[in-house]
Symmetry: C2
Subunit: 461 residues, 2 copies
Amino acid sequence: MFTKEIYIARRNHLKSTLKSGILLFPGNGEMGMNCKDNWYPFRQDSTFLYYTGVNIPDVYFVIDVEKDEEILFGNNPTPEEIVWIGATTPLEELAAKAGIKKVKPLSELANYIKNGKQQAKVHYLPPYRSETTIQLSELLDVPVQEVAGAFSVALTKAIVAQREIKITEEVQEITKAVNITAEMHTYAIKNGNAGKTEKQIAGDLQAIAIGGGGNISFPIILTTNGQYLHNHATENLIKEGDLVLCDCGAETGMGYAGDMTRTFPASERFTTLQKEVYTIVLNAHNSAIDALKPGILFRDVHLLAATKLVEGLKGMGLMKGNVEEAVAKGAHTLFFQCGLGHMMGLDVHDMENLGEPYVGYTDTLKKSTEFGLKSLRLGKALKENFVITVEPGIYFNPFLIDAWKAQGKYTDFVNYEEVEKFKNFGGIRVEEDILITKEGSQILGNPLAKTVADIEELKNA
Amino acid sequence: MFTKEIYIARRNHLKSTLKSGILLFPGNGEMGMNCKDNWYPFRQDSTFLYYTGVNIPDVYFVIDVEKDEEILFGNNPTPEEIVWIGATTPLEELAAKAGIKKVKPLSELANYIKNGKQQAKVHYLPPYRSETTIQLSELLDVPVQEVAGAFSVALTKAIVAQREIKITEEVQEITKAVNITAEMHTYAIKNGNAGKTEKQIAGDLQAIAIGGGGNISFPIILTTNGQYLHNHATENLIKEGDLVLCDCGAETGMGYAGDMTRTFPASERFTTLQKEVYTIVLNAHNSAIDALKPGILFRDVHLLAATKLVEGLKGMGLMKGNVEEAVAKGAHTLFFQCGLGHMMGLDVHDMENLGEPYVGYTDTLKKSTEFGLKSLRLGKALKENFVITVEPGIYFNPFLIDAWKAQGKYTDFVNYEEVEKFKNFGGIRVEEDILITKEGSQILGNPLAKTVADIEELKNA
């Protein structure tokens, strides 16, 4: 239960960090698909939700830190609009639920900001929708092209420091999302069979997320081409023998996300080879989770997982040479091109719009620019009550294999002759959502089949 | 099958209408939900699809009418992007499928337009996404605030005249969408029972649309509050005795839409009263369809349906007085606040972004500003091969009833004392998708239960 005390405490904490200025939070509007009024599902800005809980379009929130004034700007529907949409909860009531005492019409926002910026700096976060960019340009009298660059680093850092630590109520809400996500996976494993299209399964998974009261937290990856990391469901028919990679998540009505991955056979059982690669990935996954605790650099956990993957691939004869050296030089990135995980919360990649330099790294720990590590969204030291994902994988990407073989890249560590045989194998990823605890970590949500044996049992149940 | 000849013919027709100028068609980009890269499902601009068939983000299409030059501007993925997304169909191949001979990198667009606009007028359609507005502002060196107002009326009119007439292949594709839509309704009628939430059913309907290869063509209306015209599915529990109004549609992978409405009981049977009102709506629906033919003003068909509704409501004792006079004065709008239907095609409200003055009306037939008629999207004379919806309804809106009763509005025609009893009744709408033929009209798609008897039979099958 997100009481008004929670929202008040969040805002008080932010005010005590910033100490001065006017904090301007644009809410999101409706977003047209093929015309202005045929809308995508409404998604409120996550930071807006975090400080206000107000989950409706076309509202702005302002905190004047010095005056200690908090105002929700927005319009209640006109009598004519009520004819079309029925009665809605009055803004005053929504504001009161979050302990916000003032509500003003949206038409007063421009003057409020115009006057306010004479007296104090106006802070805002990096905008990610063009609509918001145009609005900020008009409100602040800044050219459209300069809006993005003029966001407040101080506000961004303060909010990251606050949002990255999850309170009990947030963990409960994320757990709810994870449990719906696990239902989606249970369905996918049982029903992701030969003869169906990827989209048929993906549609059914979305139905489970919507039925759970929210929506999907990101576009569903349900694919027999798991070797491509961002491959969304297509009209491809699933065939016997295919490996199906399902990476999906639900978000709750409040906007908290789940994000899990399972890889399973379209047929009743994994092949021996599929089982072998799967076991390597699962071993890396478990080793990474075992290493999680406050204080450890997530970059180091990522490299530990990479080490486990290389050990396994070496055991299969796909890699060779010294394991630590292979990882240090990045040879594992032929198979594991991306990062081990990311923060999770009100966004599936939590606070992605605030920027990885602030969310995943620090002033002293900067993100690497090397292939592989440059895709690691989170590198910094973990803290108690972070919620993160752990999602190692092995991806046999035929384009990359061909390119690097032709370039003679990593020939000290890669047996290309063996790797060639896996160009049609696909990809495997295993992902859980995890809370960092005082001593270590805790996987969130109800257990979902993860070993080869458990997945095969669920598949054939 | 949409051959390249179809696309070539469409463009040639447009060129022969415009005769001069540079026609600039911005494709849509990906659209972030809660950050830039967590995307809503991609939806290409419909006019872009109409002339190019190219269904990918971040492309522009230009027709230089005088030079008779057609260019698709866009970028093939870089080798690194291929690592993440796999191989995609090259732009050159996509262009060739539509008979477009030139492809250039997106980076060349700005200079092309800069040079081109020295020599000829650049025509573009009204933009509906802020992203496009900003792009057009930069390309054409026009302030963001002035972009929308400077769209080309000549191009808009030419495209409306072309897109409103559906060719055989389009009717087939719309029929495919309608058939998937009918499957959604069949499911809703059978499963829209007490004890489920509106969102649970809506999620399942979306799964059917996605499984059909495309997506929903507009946000699903699945509600026990059908009296509010734009009421989307909520967490409301459906109860015994409720009327459930379902207004939903699938769009095919190509982007053609379906859009149907059925209203059905949550319980096994309609109540006597529900049956009575339903029959009035269905009678108006059938009478309107019977009147459809080339040449007739759709506004007149709308008023005919209104007349049938008033006759029925008078029979029930809810209205009184002279029927024609009641309709002429707008008394029916207490129960039927909106329009009878709209154009349908690549958009569910076809060409909505091009503007109702062009799509639904003419230079001589302007839209009324009166309550009711001002919500009629289509008023002009029908032509052979229009595809339209017919969707009359009766909506007992408690806010409107209270307001008009208090104002003493239409007391010559409304028995408020009787109407008061219906303030918790809800709303009923029945909608089909219809092709205007040479002699009359044809309902598209496989038949779907529509009479009281057929709906009850399907519900209990």
